[in-house]
Point group: C2
Chain length 315, copies 2
Amino acid sequence: MTNVLITFTVKEELMQRLRSEFPQVDFTISTIKDQNALETAEVILTYGEDVNKETLGQALALKWLMVASAGLEKMPLREIGERNILITNVKGIHKTPMTESVMAHLLAIKRAVPWIYSQQRKNEWSKRSGSSELFGSTALIIGPGAIGSEIGRLLQAFGVKTIGCNRSGKQAPHMDDMIAFEQLNDTLPQVNIVISVLPSTPETRGLLTYEHFVLMKEDAIFMNFGRGDLIKEEQLIKAMAEHQIAFCVLDVFENEPLEENHPFWDMNGVIVSPHVSSHSSEYVPRAIEIFIQNLQEWMKEGTDFQNVIDVEKGY
Amino acid sequence: MTNVLITFTVKEELMQRLRSEFPQVDFTISTIKDQNALETAEVILTYGEDVNKETLGQALALKWLMVASAGLEKMPLREIGERNILITNVKGIHKTPMTESVMAHLLAIKRAVPWIYSQQRKNEWSKRSGSSELFGSTALIIGPGAIGSEIGRLLQAFGVKTIGCNRSGKQAPHMDDMIAFEQLNDTLPQVNIVISVLPSTPETRGLLTYEHFVLMKEDAIFMNFGRGDLIKEEQLIKAMAEHQIAFCVLDVFENEPLEENHPFWDMNGVIVSPHVSSHSSEYVPRAIEIFIQNLQEWMKEGTDFQNVIDVEKGY
């Protein structure tokens, strides 16, 4: 038997499918603290937050780690590499929910949805919504990979001009224009919306600073849906306190969960999304779909796995 | 001089443009109660709500009524017809803001934006958003004209299957399927989203009833962005109180403004949008754009006007 430890909740319906497709596999749904399951697991399916040097050291039989998330920067990748453990993730399944979240927040701001909700709480009919439109805006998408390009595609459908921004300035899909990181200062004064979906790498940490927000338009919207270390929070707080821009929508933070007394909660124009932009009722079913395809490969001792992580690069 | 009375606020910048393009026109910004302006106006530019039999009777010099809105069902059309007054509107300028409002509300519901806002008011970090996705849904668009088709185009971009519904079932743009009004009962059980953008006509008044909501899915979303008389409010209240569907987003009502103690304000799953879905900072500039083109035609005594209303048909 092949032992598989799953450390998150999977609906019975999906478990039945796994068990019937893989009769030669013993699936255990438990936590990483289940010593026996951890020691004997050849495969672990996890969101990743429970894998550290200690738990990895106890996973004596581990040969394949399937991580049902995208960012692996907190993983003990060196140790995983040294032990030659295969590591795969679910790259690609964040595209749809994250893009829909970005569009939801953008359209909500433009079409005065927060104002509409707050008027309703007061039973107050008024027409002074102050709404505007997404149509005709210009958006800068920092990190136009799979997710960023999908955001670009939908922004274009709404009549938004899209400018992609990456290290090299190399063309990406659904971008009307492209710039390189070093052209940021020239471009920021011209755009209405700045969206980052950058991962956390040595190059992206602290890429944005207070000065970038000074360059943006006063009515600009900034969205960070990548990683919280893109900008030092004290600098973003300063920019928002000074109303350098109108709105920021943050799905990621330097420290998560955000403390109860963090200034972001109550700041005008700051929308706190508790790192849920990739969440969706479709998330686990899609992750299991990728897992099944990789597990089929695993059982026939193949090598053609989806989303294999290069432990040197970290993605 | 040609006297033009404008009965709503127009920014000085746009007024300057009007005055410089039409030096032979005397523009007065005032209200319909300005007796002198009303009596001498050859042209009135209005949102329409101030035009009734009485004010029309006092507008002795009136030859052209330019209405900067879409629904004309409350206008004294018979009297306008009898006096041979030209009447034009701004059909077409509602398309972009209304479509963006529909998409904003839909995406907000699917991506748990109301929940995100309410968590923020409590400084409470939680990941139990219960979010889902628009992707993969099926939407029924009742009244796929210019606005409905634009909604269809954007829904399709999000991976939504679109079914249009009109009197005849005749094909409309951006609809994967079409049905006629009499096929509603067969179709409602299969769709996740029902959007009406129907105008108020003898055929559309009361088109939907409580029984239609019984047929819809329990997690369906209903949006009325057309006219409030599409369904009797007591029937919609009953359906929502019984949780026949999950959400309704209403931009239009039987009586507007909605009274302070109306049940809709506090009902679970009901979102009250105070008839602002077509509002936008771009609204007046676009209306003035159409007015300018028609006024050019008027000044050269031409006949090629945009958006002329047939007083018999009412649109």
